[in-house]
Point group: C2
Chain length 194, copies 2
């Protein structure tokens, strides 16, 4: 997309407000084109085992724009297995956190793209389903993978736009989604013992 | 692994207790080998856009063992972007939720495998780092992917076991991890508008 066109659309649409500062994002895009080192982020989490399959995971600081950064507050998340797995259900399962991230990432994208395209959103809801054959993780069948078999995301969007424009918003959100990419394409994960 | 060997190891090690009911999991494995339809789970999440790139995601019910199931309580998670992205930072970023899930999944695996192998754990901590070049999501360089470039997980484990046995625990956890698989291998994700 040409920047003049993007700027033009943005200027035309100052009356709509989805709460996204699109101009700041467009400016960041221009700056980071010439400063790739500032675009290198490191997101971090640290976990502590509690008991059984229950653990707590803390997220607070990260690195980006060439410096250490902090979230406004520390967040702690509990994960566990449900009682039907003979566990204590002190939190959602680890794999459900992937659906949380996917829902939030695609929704943030819809809001950002809508702002950029001058579309006022009234509500954006999504329901996600992740199919999972648990024979994989239990080791009951080595032909069954451990992760999701597939994931379906269904959006319900109320906005000042046609069905076609809403579908195009969702398509563009997918195209730029960090989590959609992380789930649909492989990432190298190195696990080591200190 | 032969079941007799697994059972034998379990029986030998009743004195150790990591809080994981390994016998229930081994029994589930045997039952589900003959009842693959009961092993088909559907995990669910539903999200609501709040404003800007802030959304809230709710997790409560799921399907498995042939019936609708519920977590003991509903969990709600906020996701947002940080202030350096001109956003309100009302929660961690969507992509950080992937690290939360990965930490918790590998930790649950370490506890389960340790229980099965008769290894008493005292503490299991992990730090995770996800490298992310944000030029992808900003559309600044079409050669840069949207998701993580790579992820590193570093475990610190205090247990009644040798370094080699601890490394083997972590390796086996990786081998059976739902989230490790979901991040290192592609999953089909369908996104649609209702």
């Amino acid at each position: 997309m040409g920047n003049l066109t993007e700027r033009g659309i943005t200027d035309m649409t100052t009356a709509i407000d989805n709460g996204v500062n699109v101009q700041a994002l467009l400016d960041a895009r221009e700056v980071l084109k010439g400063a790739p080192e500032a675009a290198q982020f490191t997101w971090r989490a640290s976990s502590k085992w509690q008991n059984g399959v229950h653990s707590s995971v803390t997220v607070q600081n990260f690195f980006g724009l060439g410096a250490e950064q902090n979230h406004r507050s520390e967040s702690v998340f509990d994960a566990d297995h449900p009682e039907i797995f003979a566990a204590t259900d002190n939190g959602i399962t680890p794999i459900e956190y992937l659906l949380v991230g996917l829902a939030a990432c695609l929704t943030a994208g819809v809001a950002s793209v809508a702002q950029n395209r001058g579309i006022q959103l009234r509500s954006v809801e999504a329901t996600l389903e992740g199919a999972h054959d648990i024979r994989g993780i239990l080791g009951a069948d080595s032909d069954v993978r451990n992760g999701f078999s597939d994931i379906t995301v269904t959006f319900n969007i109320d906005a000042d736009a046609s069905k076609e424009d809403i579908e195009a918003l969702v398509a563009q959100s997918q195209k730029r989604s960090a989590v959609f990419d992380a789930l649909t394409n492989p990432t190298n994960v190195t696990v080591r013992v200190a």
